[in-house]
Structures are given as C-alpha cells and as structure tokens.
Amino acid sequence: MAEAPERHGWKWLLCAPALVVLVTAASGPLLIVVAYSFLTPGNMGGVVWEFTLEAWFRVFFRRDIFDPESITFNQAHLTVYWRSVWLSLQTTFICAVLGFPTAWFIATRPPSSRTLWLFLITIPFWTNLLIRTFAIQEVIRNNGTINTVLLQMGVINQPIQMMYTDFAILLGMAYVFMPLMVLPLYAAMDKLDFRLVEAGYDLYASRVQVLWHVILPLVKPGFIAGSILVFIPAIGAYVTPRVLGGGRTMMLGNLIALQFGQGRNWPLGAALAMLMLIIVVGALVFYLRWANREEARNV
C-alpha cells in the first residue's frame, strides 16, 4: 500500500502522448481563438496584441459611423445566428423523419444484405462535399434537371426558383448529414428486440400503436445520438450554404469565414466562432439533460 502513491508518481507519464494530442490538437487552437477574440484587428488581417472587448461588443452591437455614441443591436449578426439555429433544427428534423424509415428498412433486411445497404448509405461520404453540393445545384438550378423536366412536361411555365433559397440549403444539408442520423438509428434498431414488437401486436396494438408505444421509445437513444451528430455540423456548415444559398442566405460558417477573409477582422471572426461554440455546448447540455430526464422517467 505504501508503494502505491510512489508508483502513480510516474505512471501518468504514460498518458503523455494522449495529453500532447489533446493539448496541441484540441485545446490549443481553441485557446488561440479565445485569445484572438480579445485582441485588436490588424490592418491587413491578423491581430495586434492589444487587449480589447471591441470584437465581443461588435458581435452584439453596432456603432453609427458618424455618431459613435449611438449604439444599436447588430441585427445582421443576430439574424444569421437565428437563421443558422433554425435551419439546423429543421435539418435535424428532416433527417430524423427521413432517416427513421431508411434505418428501419436496413435493420429489417436479412443480416447478410445489411452490410451492403449500410455501405450504400455511406457512399456519399466517399465523394468530395463540394462536388456533391454542385451536383445538387445541377439538379435544382433554374435550367437544371427538375425545372427542365417540369417545363417540358408543361407543368410549369417558368422555372421555379430553388437555388439561393432556404429550401436549397435545407435540401443540401439534409442530404449531406442524413448518414449521420441513419447510422446511430440503425445501431439502436439493430439492438431492438423484435419479440417486443411481436408482444405489442399480440396485445392488440395496431401497426401505428406498435410504432408509437414500442418502437419509438426503444430507439430513442438512436434519435438522440443522431440529432446531436446532425445538429452540430449543420450549425457550422460552410460549403452547403455558400454554394446553394449564395450570398443571400448566409449562415454562421459563412459569416465567420467572411470576417477572416474579406472582412479582415480576425478578432470579430474569433468572437463569432466562440459564441457559436457556446450556443452549441449550451444546447447540447440542455438537450442531454432533457433527454436523460425523459430516460429516467421511461426506462
């Protein structure tokens, strides 16, 4: 017993490689972003090492150029935040609604063919995101596939504007993030004891009742994991809103990129990014607490 503390004295060194990775790859860059958000922007981008709260101030407020005393809320930033959260929630919802039957289909195939179906689901991951997004653009643009077909069939007289709308962004994001919902849902369904479904039918439940009272509560952990996996990358999405939303419907990722690029205001970009992180972590904590409370009540 007396030797134990001594041994622990050097044993932690074994964690060193992991610690190095954690510090340099995860915490380090994050700390740099935090630090930048409190510095003064340099003239040609970059930062000047002078402490200021200006960046954080400008995240929420704006000064009139001619009257520095007149301060108003920065509507543009708040709108982008709100739109990002709202579009991400919608994306998560769409992925859940479409992902459930997809995962169910795979989970109910014979075990031998499930691997093939899962492989097909993950195939889009193998293609460059930008190329996939341009492919969607090709389908929905004014002289794209859908409009051409509808015009030639005489269903419409002029092309439907789909590009550069929220619809385009939702379509793109739901398409891109769908596997992230399907895979955890499938994992939950794979563990589902189908005898419980039989027990439900045996006890006079209809198909809808079995779905609602037996299947959905049991695959809820899959929904929770899937929602988190979809929502987090969706809120910071850059490529999809950039290509499909154009300049008109900007999301957080684009706003942040803008500050680091043409805006040449790195501290503001850093502050915006930090706020996004705070929102995501806050939402996650809130969501998990809520889900776990449900869990405690139901399982």
């Binding site: 027990a199 439900g200 039918y201 045996d202 006079y204 037996v214 399982v299």
Partner: protein, 368 residues
Amino acid sequence: MTAQTKPDSAEIEIRDLSKVFGQGAAAFRALSEINLQIRTGEFFTLLGPSGCGKTTLLRVIAGFEQPSTGSLRINGKEVAGLGPNARPVNTVFQNYALFPHMTVAQNIGFGLKMQGKPRAEVEATTAEMLSLVKMEAMAERRPSEISGGQQQRVALARALAPRPRVLLLDEPLSALDLKLRKEMQSELKRLQTETGITFIFVTHDQEEALTMSDRIAVMSAGKILQLGSPHEIYHAPSERFVADFIGDTNFLDMAVKAVNGTVAEVTLPGGKPGTARLPEGFLPVLGETVTTVIRPEQVQMVDAGQGDMDAVVDNAVFFGTDTNVHLRLDDGQGFVLRRQNSAETIEPDAGTRMGLRLSPGALRVLKG
C-alpha cells in the same frame, strides 16, 4: 387416443394444417398434417425436442405465422389470415418480452389500453392482475429492476389481463432455476384453474408436461405422434420415439407367437412365455420379432429362476429416492430396473444373478 371431443366444446380446432418456410429446394416443412382439437378450459401441452415444430405451431395459433394450408378455428371462428392483434389469444414469451421502457403496471395494462378500454377499467384490471400474481408491491418498478421469477409473473399477468380465450405459453419456465420452476408450475396450474382460460403450453421438459397437463401432444419432425392424457402418454406410448422421449424406458426385442385379441403372446428373452399388449389397430406378423417397451419401475427383483426373465447385475446407480439397477439379460440385451429405496435396502453387487418379474400388463408392443 381419446381425442373424441364434441366439436362444440373445442376452443381451438386445427384441420390439415401445414407450414412450409422458404421455397423450392430450400423449402422446410415445419408442420405437416396437423389435426387437433383443444377443449375449452383445458391445460394442453405441446411436447417435443427442439426443432420438432411445437413453437411454430404455437406461433401459427398466435398469428405470428400464417399456415401454408389448412384451417385454424378459435371458438368456431376461422382465424387463418388474421394478425395476432385480431385474435382472442395472448402469448407468454419464452424470454417474457416485457417492455423495458414501461413499469410493471404499464406492461400489464398495455393490452387493455390498446383495446381502447376506459382508463378506470385499465387501472382496475391491472390492480386485479397484480394481486392475482402477487406483484402489488412491484407495480411501479421497471422490468430490469425485478428478478426473473417476478418478470415471469408480470409476463403472465400482462397476457391474462385482456382476458383472452386462450393463453399461449412458449417454454415460459425454461429460464428459471429448478426450485423456482417447481413453484411456477403450481402457480401456473392455480392461475389456469382460477381463470378458467384454455392454456396451451409448449415445453421440451417431459416431467413438466406430465405434472401439469390435462392432455399432451407429443411432436416430432413437424407431426403430432401421439395425443393423450399424461397417463396414456407415459404408460401406453404408441411409438418408439414417444416411449424414448418420455421417461426412462427399456426396449426389448422378442418374437410373437400368437395374437389373442389386444394381447400378443410372446417369447421373453430367456425363453419363458409372456404376454404384451398391442397398440390399437396394429397386428404383428406371427413369428416376427417386435419391439416391446416396459418402464424400469414396472419390474421387480426376485430370486434367480423365480421371475419371467433372468439377468446379471452390471452396476447399481443410487440417486436418493430410487436406485437404478443396470442389468444384462441372458440373451445379451441391456435392461434397467428402478427400485424404490428405504433405509434397509442394500445395493445388489455387480455379477449377482437375479430374476425379474414384470408387472402384469406392463409390457407393450410398439408400432414401429
């Protein structure tokens, strides 16, 4: 067989039912030519080794599988083609299949809730069922928080709550340890008597089947081999498989000398004459060898030369209440005799020569 029931008292009537899984060369005939009438209020057991089709038959009755051919009537109504939620039948699953996200009370009330019964009725019946299976104290627990035996009771209560006409039990006791299993056997009997519901019980445990059932159907390879009371199945097995599957049995080959009504006159091993009962509708060829069967406890030890056959002791296996004496008959066939023990009885030594007296009427000829 004593399955001559009046059709109007049949709770379940199965005619020429078969079930084939798969198609073409891969087709597997799980059930063939099943004809069965199960009476109202009866404790009926489907007994057989694994893979004999007993569970498939249960699933066909429950509605999880549809028969390939034939008819299935429950309470006079044809149900082939109906789903499990449209049949007045509930199942107790082998691993209970309790809903893990619901409390014990919610599990029990589930069927009634799905039937759209008013809340007050659901609650009243749930309380009644909880007390029927003595689980009142556990009403708010989750299935994961109660023991296997308690889960078993909840599964029973859940299946009984909607008052089905027939309760199907798929090896419900197989996951319990021996002591609990004995307890649940009498518990099941009590529930069946109290509720008056027809029970169809599937098991591979012959002892369980014998102690609990009103009637037993012994199944093998998708067919019903014999149907009868536990007494008939044990004492008058019609086929070698049935005799072998249920209890310990001696099979003896011997020649038939004459047939006298339902009794055959045979030459016993060792040359003495004897009689063996014939199964219904079976006439052996005179002079041919037939297989006969006799239970180990239907034979008594006597002095050498005094009994029907003579044998030499190989060894004796003591197991508490009884001792099994393994013997070799003079013609070389093996034989087991079971003797009840008392404090005074001593095991016979290996090599001892003794006589065996067969209980009158105990020796039976098998069909196959």
